[in-house]
């Protein structure tokens, strides 16, 4: 092997984590808010508003229907404008975040919609303000499902970030392609795949166990 595999793995692992974590955070904050907005504007108990709901919904749908590779390319000018570069982990964070926001936006809307409407109605009937109902009833009730959906998003992001590597995004996927595929070093490819599998496993286990811990709906 003509390069320091260990150092390369450390570097690219760090890049992958950077891409996944920052786009996941963006997805949780922005995507979660969009999901909440979609839910609130669809529910008569809160702020039903067809116009806003449909406009936001269509934007989300369009974003979600663009294949990720194309989104990567489409976002190059945006990345240039925001992070002043079009290659490397910093640049691909933008398309990753956009994809993850749209993805989690829809999923979290479903999490909120799954909350028993009767429970929300009881809270409305108690005279509580809508804000306190959202914060203290809707969120805790939706949280286990939200965490499951955040986990799904994180796992998809690991896959997308590997794909982003192929267009110069860096990260484990980049390493796998450059050394494993192009230079034909199967062991590098193999190690990269193992690392990705482990990473997915870790996210899944953390997500599942915390969702389970917060879910009090079974005995």
């Amino acid at each position: 092997m003509d390069f320091d595999l260990k150092a390369a793995l450390f570097l690219t692992f760090g890049q992958t984590m950077q891409m996944v974590i920052s786009s996941l955070l963006a997805a949780i904050i922005i995507g979660g808010s969009i999901g909440l907005l979609l839910f609130l504007t669809s529910n008569t108990l809160f702020l039903k508003n067809r116009a806003i709901n449909q406009i936001v919904g269509v934007i989300i749908n369009i974003t979600r229907s663009i294949p990720f590779l194309i989104l990567l390319v489409l976002m190059i000018p945006v990345s240039k404008a925001i992070v002043h570069t079009s290659i490397g982990p910093n640049a691909v964070v933008i398309p990753l975040a956009v994809a993850a926001i749209a993805f989690l936006g829809r999923l979290s809307e479903a999490s909120f919609s799954d909350v028993d409407n009767g429970v929300l109605e009881a809270a409305i009937a108690s005279g509580a303000s809508k804000l306190s109902i959202v914060l203290k009833i809707l969120l805790p009730e939706a949280l286990p499902s939200l965490i499951k959906n955040i986990t799904v998003t994180a796992v998809s992001l690991i896959g997308f970030s590997a794909m982003a590597g192929t267009v110069g995004g860096g990260g484990i996927g980049d390493l796998a392609i450059r050394y494993g595929y192009q230079r034909y070093e199967p062991e590098v490819m193999f190690i990269c795949v193992i690392v990705l599998v482990l990473l997915v496993q870790i996210f899944q286990v953390i997500g599942d166990s915390s969702a389970k811990k917060l879910d009090k709906t079974s005995k």
């Binding site: 009881a122 005279g127 203290k136």
Partner: protein, 337 residues
Amino acid sequence: MIEFKHVSVSFKQHKQIFEAVNDAHFKIEKGEIFGIAGSSGAGKSTLLRTINLLQTVSSGEILVDGENVTNYRRTQLRILRRNIGMIFQHFNLARNLTVYQNIAFVLKAAGKSKAETETRVKELLDLVNLSEKSNSYPANLSGGEKQRVAIARALANDAKILLCDEPTSALDLETTSSILSLLKDLNKKFGITIVIITHELDVIKSICTRCAVMNKGSVVEIGDVYDIFTKPREDFTRQLLSHTSHFNLPEQIIDKMQGPIIRLTFKGDNANNPILYYAANTFQIGFNILLGKVEYINDLPLGILYVQLIGETEPLKLAIEFLAANTADLEVINHGL
């Protein structure tokens, strides 16, 4: 206390207007337990939900404590709702919150401090007999316990009115009666006005003082529960009652019997007099009780007897006349004369 003034609620469905509530116009008095009966889809829930404006009315007015609340919004509406508790068939407790947190939520939402909230929750849990379940999650409670928590939550901010939408429909008989007696106690102790919707007429019989009967959006009959159960004025009410009180003599038996068969209804005071025995003695006839029961509606007795009379034609006629005059109702099931 609660007054409906020509209240109608209509929904638009597939470009068609559907009247779920049609010109409801009546009053519910302070401190009473008022029942609303009717078949499924009659509009009971819709009507009930207009009281705390969970349902907006299409026309008409809702008065609570003499105040027109129909157009209440925002703060005014929230204060109104704090004074009107509501419980539901499926309890509607937040499942990821403990019993304590469920009740504390409505107190904090009404601006109570942490200390106030703590004492009040304790007080409420004592009231509904659930002190030791404070930290349990709803999934670990029985149906009856969940409904008790819901009642505690509904009354947390000292509600003066309690709206109940099928509160016992998901409970077994024993639990139903314990929840009903809790409601009755609360009504007595705090003078809370209770409005209760149910399709179980037994619920109305056991705790309501007055009730309304709804059919297809309209209130068809309204009055004292005892009167409605003993002498329903409307065909629909009679129909509704016949579904629940399966208290009829089988046809085959009626056909086989000799002599007249009568159905006697005793109400109130005359339920306690030995009228039948007296008639038999006076007119020298025999009698044979085929079926009988006494039930208590609103703590007043209602007795129903199916009796076969035996004797000569003339004395029988006189006896029937006498019985008709001295009971609440007499129906000749089979003349046999």
